[in-house]
Symmetry: D2
Subunit: 200 residues, 4 copies
Amino acid sequence: MSLLAQPINCTLKASGESSTDAMIAVMKSASEEKGATVAGTVRAAALDIKPGVTSDEGDGDEWPEVREKILAADILILGTPIWMGSAGSVAKRVMERMDAFLEETDDHGRMPSYGKVAVAAIVGNEDGAHFASAQIFQALNDVGWTIPAVAACYWVGEAMGSTDFKDLEKTPEMVAKTAKMVAANAVHLAGLLKRDAYPG
Amino acid sequence: MSLLAQPINCTLKASGESSTDAMIAVMKSASEEKGATVAGTVRAAALDIKPGVTSDEGDGDEWPEVREKILAADILILGTPIWMGSAGSVAKRVMERMDAFLEETDDHGRMPSYGKVAVAAIVGNEDGAHFASAQIFQALNDVGWTIPAVAACYWVGEAMGSTDFKDLEKTPEMVAKTAKMVAANAVHLAGLLKRDAYPG
Amino acid sequence: MSLLAQPINCTLKASGESSTDAMIAVMKSASEEKGATVAGTVRAAALDIKPGVTSDEGDGDEWPEVREKILAADILILGTPIWMGSAGSVAKRVMERMDAFLEETDDHGRMPSYGKVAVAAIVGNEDGAHFASAQIFQALNDVGWTIPAVAACYWVGEAMGSTDFKDLEKTPEMVAKTAKMVAANAVHLAGLLKRDAYPG
Amino acid sequence: MSLLAQPINCTLKASGESSTDAMIAVMKSASEEKGATVAGTVRAAALDIKPGVTSDEGDGDEWPEVREKILAADILILGTPIWMGSAGSVAKRVMERMDAFLEETDDHGRMPSYGKVAVAAIVGNEDGAHFASAQIFQALNDVGWTIPAVAACYWVGEAMGSTDFKDLEKTPEMVAKTAKMVAANAVHLAGLLKRDAYPG
């Protein structure tokens, strides 16, 4: 079965090198190794994604295209940096826009996200990955996403450190191993749900 | 396919009436309606579950039996009260004991929880359900549980209120509706994973 | 001693009625009753506050004026709506901009926020206030704010409800009582710290 | 002014070496350097602290003595290990017992914790310190504790690491520096509040 994964990079920066991109790259090769196709990464901060909780906030809002890409895929790879010990504001905004799914159910009460799986790719100089994944899993699950076993691939340095993931000489072994596990689980579960949708 | 759900009541009280039990009862009938068998509820506070992160802390530790029940089932219904705005200490202890799963992987790197799904049944007098579900989803997912779409059934009263769920005259309509959705998703997903296990 | 409180409304909406404003109004009168002066509310979504973690992100960034207002005051009243069970993305962005304080210490290692107190004013249709206050207290405390005893005034309706705080006929008694306590504690503590600054 | 700090070690282990103890030791010397007296550490897991939310759960409950020690001090140093990315279950239990403070107010509506400050000493092999401090600050603040600027001293190793804090050859410089700052702020603020209590 052909499965499509859509990464979103929720760095605060509109352009330039990004550790979140580096983590998404790790998840991308792990996902491709498991047979998924990985779409080009959406860089959220480069787009005008308006604050709000509807699917179209009008006036140049670029969320509708992002929404379309997300819903065309089977797997969402939500990439976010850690700021102040938790997920960044851009990731929160992206998730808030999915709040609209609650009102967009089909005849069986199923949100557009039903049958899709979400995983997290999290990086920070230091501590905050578990707080970020807690926020992400709860928020995405509330709006219909399924969370496969071991769904977070993350890296942070030692407490109060300042090393960037993108500047590491090589991908830490534990990160590479976790990425493979996350990707394998996501691909397997997305395949099952694509074949056998939640009945609602 | 025959599916078994195991509820755990993580109230702080060893005996007596419990709002968490009342919420588990709502989840139980919704799960049975979807064809699952629901095992007798484990009341964690009535057992001597030692603090620790291994599967057997010796000396009268009653976790091993609970662990066996959990792993014999396909669906975990983790019931917890809200205390101080988040999941209670008994729920945290129960989850901590599953930390041992990380070391108990099979030849394919799969924890004993792989292929099982977990949902939350949360009650409180007031606010805290989302904080509780964030903690629960992250902790359980880290140790191998899969989280089906919309996996939390909860009730809390108005801010700073003091009504108990068990004293409500009837189950609020939104709770009943959510319970059906949570149960339907859990049963569907547990069935898929039972038939087609994660390859690891 | 003359004390100044600065409210920030972190609703997602640039204009129009706001439940967060209604909660800030409750905190405003409680603060005035305790002798503080309350500055005009900053509506964050009406300004172009760029994503980032420096004190000036250039290019039309309107954070510098907000930063100045915050630092001219003794008390910060951070008002935020709950979205997806936690603080909204606008609140997170506002807090992220204060990350810069970490690099802006004086000769005694004190951030510009040292000696100032922060309280939260949180509203939502339903559950999420404790998750929001946990995020807010941790993030603001990390960047130097002091949190007075009982520092959150909040309201949410019953689980899965949809009533707006601004549409309530009257302020619930518990909210009014809590607001008085929060304001009294904030004013007292801000006064102490203004007279006797942290030595660093 | 003479100030007393009371550390509580919330490790899951009843006895033996503890990284949390090692972190408390760092906070202890920093506090003494600032002129505070530091009481002997309470090891929560070595005591029979019953689950519950009252100040005395009867039947051999050892919380009452702990409660007395906490309330005899001016500063609480809550030490906890990180398990599953957040504060351990013993820390949560200890905090839950303080829920009783809500009902133990004086004639001015002040809880027994009013006028006392709390700081956190957090250690883990890996990520979770910010999630832990968010939980701790919110829970303790709800029941009357004041949180001084920069109130968490923590250490975790690199993501998915397994080094124990107690096995480090020396205290990392950033930890030592943070401990001094946390202690200085706690001592200063506790002194102010001891001289000038919240009026309620």
